[in-house]
Amino acid sequence: MQVYEPFRAGLPPLIRYWKSLWSRRTFIAEYSRSELREQHFDSLFGQLWLVLNPLLLSAVYFLLIVIIRGSSDVTRYVHLTATLFLFYLVANSLTGGVKSITAGQRLILNTAFPRIMLPISAVVIAVAKFIPTLLIFFIIRTILGAPYTWEMLWAFPVLLITIFLALGLAITISCINVYFRDISSFLPYMTRTLLYLSPILYEASALKPKLMAIQEFNPLFPILDSWSRTLVHGQAPQGSSLLTGLAWAAGVFLIGTYFFLSREREFAVRL
């Protein structure tokens, strides 16, 4: 039996919610696939563009580094591509997630389903877009002759933490956008700021002591630092970085999901 009563902010029964979400996993996959296809990622040139876009971006940023610093080397370029591609996984989750609820209006108004499915599929899409760029990264890395080590396997937990963080961010921002629609216009500026605050155009170790404070407020900082250490330098990441990254991800996920779940029954009237 299902009971519907007046809306009160509060969590729905979590076990039932999870079951109903789990039963829709094929729908999430299919929904994400159709969105990807809509953006032509099933075609050859669509995928080529997917790879070309971050490649061109990394070329532009590399040019920027060379001009500002006056010199550069191969490792720096490998570092730039590695972190930039991972950054775009998070940035794409945010841009996909922010409108996931408001764009799913027709679906929300006409069917009952766990609404969290929509930001989740935004992250699934972002991950699907990330995978080809990861392949490109390994090709670049091999061509430029960076050595392979066993420590690089640390990339897996780092990637998982990143996806976890992206999920939390997508859920949070999709919920905020229901109440403040102009957040989607601010988003490009926020991601751009985040990009410059992250160790992408520079390495974390090169940061001036005065500016060290920014790493405390940037959830991406420890993750990108670990990612660079393992994939670029072939070293094991610092345990403290991994733990800080995980703590950020868990915190964002828990807070965002709490707000989302306690508000989602109201979304239909807010759209």
Binding site: V3, Y4, E5, F27, R37, F180, I183, R270
Partner: protein, 277 residues
Amino acid sequence: MELIFSYQGSANLLSASNSHATHEIAISVRGLGLTYKTSIDRHPTLKARAKSLGRRGKHVRIIQALDDVNLNVEYGQVLGVIGTNGAGKSSMMRVIAGIIPPTKGRIEVFGSVSTLLALGVGFNPSMSGRDNVFLGGLASGMSREEIEDNFQEIADFSELGEAIDAPMRTYSSGMFSRLAFSVAVTVRPDILIVDEALSTGDAKFKEKSLNRMKELRSEDSALILVSHAMATLREVCNDVVWLHKGKVVQRGEPNETIAAYQEFLHVRKSAALDEDV
């Protein structure tokens, strides 16, 4: 009353997990009230919020969509819902389906609910008809295996032929709604809620979909139909409720209720009443 078809064959897979006895309560609605707050600003934004900080009172209009509605639906019933535009029909369907929370009252639903409130929900126009059958089916809660087992039936019913593999944006609106309807009626929940989805396609397909609706009636499921097509309701329903301005005006035998509703409309000098639209 016509013969009630019991649907045999592969479609049985889609039947609800637990069967329900006739006259068992399917939906119980108690003291249901629903008010919408529509803000004058079209979308809530930070900017609007900042601007209204200094002012007292919010720019909202309150709409009473449903007011103290009490309603029981039993298994085996086919309930027609009639009323003028803005009577609260669609709102009530959304509340029963759990899409919109009520403002007042309590709704108890005993069984699985599937809604057909709009055609082609979840469809993606850039995908082929075949892909959309899966997408739409999954959106309405079917499993992939169930859709695969019923795919041929859906394709045949939609009469699309070869076009099923063409992208849906190339479809005519009639083809689009034919496929959407075919997917929707394949779901076999305990309780099916249909909002004006019968008026689809040409006369021939309309008759076909009407027959399908009749097939969907069975002793162990409940069906709620919102429609302005009085002739259809007379033919399909065994119970009709008339809503007006969010309140139940009359409930009972289809012919009686529809006659009362039509008399009310005539008094208000409306035209084109018994049109099958």
